[in-house]
Amino acid sequence: MRKLVILLLAAIAATAYADSPLYTSRATLNSLSGQQIYEHICQGCHMPAAQGATGAGFYPKLASDKNFVSWQFVALTVLNGRNGMPPFGYPAGQAASGAPHLSDAQIADVVNYVRGHFGNAYKADVTAKQIALLPHPAAELIGPQ
């Protein structure tokens, strides 16, 4: 019952913000498409047109990235992170510690999305099953301060 209430409230909130690119809640995040996941999360660093950004270091552009020929490269990066990029394949239910989590299906969706947009034109055929076979980060994250 409680779960239903939460879902209902989340749905109401999502409706209220339907005109904007995103709404933040764990419940609604679970129903996002690959494109929405990119716009809710990835573009925070890789930027809205996947052009990347440069300061003392840089966020790589995803536009026309040659590494993207390998879907495994993209999927492993999203699952396990790379350099400063956080892993998104942590187990579910660690939100309190700040550990990001996307399901295998969501990771497949976002991998397909970035490999098929921003000047990349690879087939969108990666499945959740294929993602599940790749190594995931298992360890618990030590919480925020």
Binding site: M47, T54, I142
Partner: protein, 536 residues
């Protein structure tokens, strides 16, 4: 300290130099430890770096808390010190945004801070526990005045959008009621002999008495409406003077409602070691520490220097950098040793010839997302309307925290509060918005707790740490697995290069981690330098 040459005996320093020269750094460190010499963290007092070799030099990368702690101590010990800093200011994540400041995040969007004079927000660290003795030492040394930071305010709120019709509850009431109900249950179990297996007959009476005191129970060990419970949770009508002063007791919330609301999760926020009273904040903003440190170090710091390459050889370390104030001309600096405090997401992208073990440690610590937002309001309504003076409200809304200013109480005019402190996935989602949209949403969410928001709001800023050009994240995130695999490699000196920063500590995300890691690293660098002897 007199030199051994003069006294005719081998000095401790000479002995150590000999051990260092013949058996390498590890044996040297071992020997020093057994001589009670090597300073292990936690912070024990000012570091002793006596006997710096003549002419020895250290290049420090980063003028944050770690880099400036190291620069200060190494300079005083006699080393030639140069600090390279990407920003045009000292402090790094020790940073305050004030009215008139401009801040451009990665992606190019600029925020103009429009706060009134003397109002500010700390986008990074905002509190200093009393037992962060390293920080406290340097704050005292630099003469930065401190104010109390209220971690716990009994009159601030715990808020669940899913409970009590979304109405925020006073921390005082939630804590008193939870504690009272738990005490009542325990007392009941004790009196029904349910705990006899764990509690001796002698302890039974003492336990009951203590539960009455701890939980504010009445003479029958019940947590009910009355003087005892109201003295904890507050009154329906508070006691006063004269004929109108007779108090009316308040009614506790039922245990079921408290548990269902999940608010007990917020009760212990001030109980963890890092959050226990006393905590402090520098008057005028956290950035006062970095600014004072920068003034102290003066021309040792070279600003606007973006490091592009770090290369060591048998004799020293050469660092290449571009100077943004001179149209990006490439320059280099060289020293015998290098202390690198550059945040790991950035360092992982800079070419540097170190061991594979260190390189993989550097690329194995992801960077946390976090958002902090400062909102200016026309008046301090949280004080005027709600009697909240400093402290923090916790909520399950995406803004997660509202922090009230711990200074300027009852001042007329405008006020700035921390409208949000967000981490995890929610912080990533806020990072993906434009700064203006972040602020707008933070105001919208906050108005569910303080309905005055929309009427009183004037302007705000929202800093997303993944988009901070000099940090690319809030702090390094460790797991037990990555700690076991990479932590020691990250901290060990590699040739002539050592790393320091909060990421190289067990106090991640705290400035004390930066300070103690810097002291730990320069203590070891100093031993190496002493072992190498004077420069000829």
């Amino acid at each position: 300290m007199k030199n051994g040459e003069e006294s005719g005996f081998m000095s401790r320093r000479q002995l150590l130099r000999m051990v260092g020269a013949t058996a390498g750094g590890a044996a040297m460190y071992q020997a020093m430890s057994s001589l009670g010499f090597a300073a292990e963290s936690p912070y024990k007092g000012p570091i002793d770096l006596q006997g710096a070799p003549r002419g020895a030099s250290v290049l420090i990368l980063g003028a944050g808390m770690a880099g400036m702690t190291a620069a200060y101590e190494l300079r005083n010990a006699g080393y030639q010190v140069t600090v390279l800093q990407y920003n045009a200011r000292a402090g790094g994540r020790n940073w305050t945004l004030r009215g008139g400041d401009r801040y451009t995040e990665l992606g190019g969007q600029t925020q103009q801070c429009e706060f009134d004079k003397d109002l500010y927000i700390n986008p990074g660290p905002w509190r200093i526990p009393y037992h962060h003795r390293g920080m406290m030492h340097y704050i005292k040394l630099l003469g930065v005045p401190l104010e109390p930071f209220f971690q716990v305010n009994y009159n601030a709120y715990l808020h669940s959008s899913q409970a009590f019709g979304g109405k925020p509850q006073r921390y005082r009431e939630v804590k008193a009621d939870y504690q009272g109900h738990v005490a009542e249950l325990l007392a009941k179990a004790t009196r029904q002999s349910a705990l006899d297996a764990s509690v001796t007959k002698e302890d039974r009476e003492m336990l009951l008495e203590s539960l009455r005191g701890w939980g504010a129970l009445d003479k029958d060990y019940s947590y009910t409406v009355g003087e005892a419970s109201s003295d904890r949770r507050g009154y329906e009508k508070e006691p006063g003077g004269g004929l109108s002063g007779r108090p009316i007791a308040s009614k506790p919330v039922a245990l079921h409602d408290l548990l269902d609301a999940g608010m007990w999760a917020g009760i212990a926020a001030g109980d963890t070691f890092d959050m226990q009273t006393s905590l402090f904040q520098p008057a005028g903003g956290m950035g006062r520490i970095g600014e004072a440190f920068g003034r102290e170090l003066g021309s040792l710091i070279r600003y606007n220097a973006k490091v592009t390459d770090i290369h060591q050889d048998d004799h020293g370390v050469t660092v290449t950098f571009t100077d943004s104030s001179q149209a990006g001309a490439q320059q280099s600096a060289r020293a015998d040793w290098c202390l690198c405090t550059i945040p790991l997401p950035i360092l992982s992208q800079i070419p540097m010839n170190v061991s594979q073990a260190l390189a993989s440690a550097i690329s194995s610590v992801p960077s946390a997302a976090a958002i902090k937002s400062g909102l200016q309001f026309k008046r301090r309504f949280w004080e005027e309307d709600e009697n909240i003076f400093g402290g923090i409200t916790y909520t399950d809304l995406p803004i997660m925290n509202i922090g009230y200013p711990n200074t300027g109480f009852q001042s007329r005019g405008k006020g700035v509060l921390l409208g949000a402190y967000i981490w995890g996935m929610r912080a990533m989602e806020f990072t993906a918005m434009s700064p203006q949209e972040r602020v707008q949403r933070i105001v919208d969410y906050g108005s569910q707790i303080h309905p005055q928001y929309h009427k009183e709001f004037e302007n705000g800023v929202a800093v997303a740490w993944h988009r901070v050009p000099f940090a690319m994240g809030c702090f390094g995130m460790w797991t037990e697995e990555t700690r076991a695999k990479h932590y020691d490699d990250l901290c060990k000196i590699n040739g002539r290069i050592a790393l320091a920063g909060e990421h190289a500590s067990f106090i991640g995300g705290w400035q004390e981690g930066a300070v103690t890691s810097a002291l730990d690293a320069i203590g070891r660098l100093h031993q190496r330098a002493v072992a190498a002897g004077d420069k000829t």
